[in-house]
Each structure stands twice: as structure tokens, then as C-alpha cells.
């Protein structure tokens, strides 16, 4: 079966958001802890982490991991700081 309307729409959105330079998933992971802490603290995305934000907007898998990480951090935040 050909691509569904939703899949085609996802492709169009991905193409419109594509940048010439994007970080890969491994690089995103290496920055995700800092990015998550900045996100929780409500800090604006700094220039060093802008590529992470852009990657998360493109990569559904890394974004899913980011959301789970936020929930996990929240769960352990009531314990003494580590």
C-alpha cells in the first residue's frame, strides 16, 4: 500500500524542517542530559544546544527518549541532590 496521507504529510513536514547541517542521534544523546536540565529549569536554549532542539524536532525517536528522560528526572528529583 502506498504511503498514507498522514505518512506523506509527515514526509513533507520533515523536508520543510530539514537543515543542511544536523547532528546525529549519538551527538544528541551526549547533550541530552544538559539539555534536559536546562529545559526543566526553564532556561532558553543556548546556542550550543540549538542543534539538539532542532534534532528533537526532526527525530521522533530521540524526542521520545527526551520525554521519558524528563519524566524520570522528575521522579528522582524529590530525593537528595546527587
Amino acid at each position: 500500500m502506498a504511503l498514507t496521507q498522514q505518512q506523506a504529510r509527515s514526509l513533507v513536514d520533515l523536508i520543510a524542517a530539514t537543515r543542511d547541517e544536523e547532528i546525529d542521534c549519538g551527538t544528541c544523546l551526549s547533550e541530552l542530559a544538559v539539555f534536559a536540565e536546562q529545559h526543566i529549569e526553564g532556561k532558553p536554549v543556548d546556542q550550543a544546544r540549538e542543534a539538539v532542539r532542532a534534532h528533537l524536532a526532526i527525530c521522533g525517536e530521540c524526542d521520545e527518549e527526551f520525554e521519558h528522560l524528563l519524566a524520570a528526572i522528575e521522579a528522582i528529583s524529590d530525593q537528595p541532590a546527587s
Partner: protein, 236 residues
Amino acid sequence: MNGCFGKIEPRMSKTLDRTAQSSSPIDGSAQRRKARSNSAWLDDLRSTDERQQQALDDLRRLLFRGLAASFRSDRRIDDSFLEDAAQDALLRILERLDSFRGDSQFSTWAMSIAVRTAISELRRRRWRDVSLDQVTSDGALDPDRAVDDRADAARTSEQRAILQALSKLIATALSDRQRDAIVGELRGMPSAEVARRTGSNRNAIYKLTHDARKRLRHGLEQQGFAADAIRSAFGA
């Protein structure tokens, strides 16, 4: 098992069984973890005396607690899965201690590894019996099917023109590997699972799809459909 981790490692390893056996139950209810600075975590985990064992117990308990909260709504998850994931993550964390830069809390960094460990295993189980061919077969784009008929006539026409151009580009401008990777992604197959079936790794699959997206974008631009025009036509 996952390209993002750089090397193949045993799944849900029991290598740290001594840790599992010596620790108290990890129900997250009783013992509160003592406060540790980042340097204390590193020192304790690298020590060769009883401090290491205590740190391993504490970290495993912490990871379990975070994972349990994060995945609580997933009905595929039980305590056994979480214990295995925490244990496997502990092994990975120990192997990567030297890569911790210290620009976040150690617990956050460790948790990021644990989350990825757990999700990777869930994805592997979900897609275990699905071939790449099953996912990518007939991945053509049919403009008539993909256009949004609820849009007004002008936008429908613009969408159709873009989709017709895109359909031709998918068929002619992409390699078979690029096409499979893109279609696999659109149909929900994780890049690590695509990589597992093609002898590649997650980073390489991402580069493959990135190159494919750039090629499609440039092809559309050459036909007068820049990103802004695409967003306008599809309301993105």
C-alpha cells in the same frame, strides 16, 4: 545492540549480579539515597572497596525509580523488565564513566543512558518479528491519496503539485537504501531496527535519511517549491 552506544553489548546483562544480590529491594519506598556530588559519584564508583558496592546499589535503585516512573503507563513493562534495564544500564554507565563531562548532574547523565537502554529494548521487542521488506514494500507516494481534500481549491492544487514533484523525486532521486530508510521511518520502524537489519548503526541510518531529506528538499527547491511554499501549502 544500538549504534548510539558505539559497540555491541550483551542484552540485559547479568554481569553485575553481585550488585543485584547484595542490594535491598528496589521498590523506591524505604531507603533514601544519600546526597552525592558528581565527583563523589565518580570516586565511589571507581573505588575498589565497599564504597563502590554502595554506590552501585544506590545508582541501580535510582535508575529503577526513574525508569518505573517514566514507563509506568506502558503495559508492556513490569518490575522484571525494569530491573533488567537498570542493571544493563548500570553496566553501560560504568563502561562510560570516563565520558561523563560533568556539565550536568551525574544522575541526569546516568538516567539518560538508562532511558535509552530501556527504550531500545522495548523497540527491539516490538519489531522483533517484522522484516524491513514488510515495512518498506510499496512505499510510493500517491499524490491523489496524499492530498488534503478538505483544504480550499488553491491550496489543494498547490499541495498536489508539490506531492507530484515529491513522488517523482522519491522514485528517481533516492537510492534504494535511502528510500527504504525514509519509508521505514515514516512507517514507524526505529532507525536502530532498520540498522539491525542492514548491518548498519543508528547514526549511519540517521545520516542516510538526512541526506535523503536534503536531496528531496533541494529537488523541490529546483522546481520552485522552497520550504516556505511547502509550509504554506500544507499549513505547517
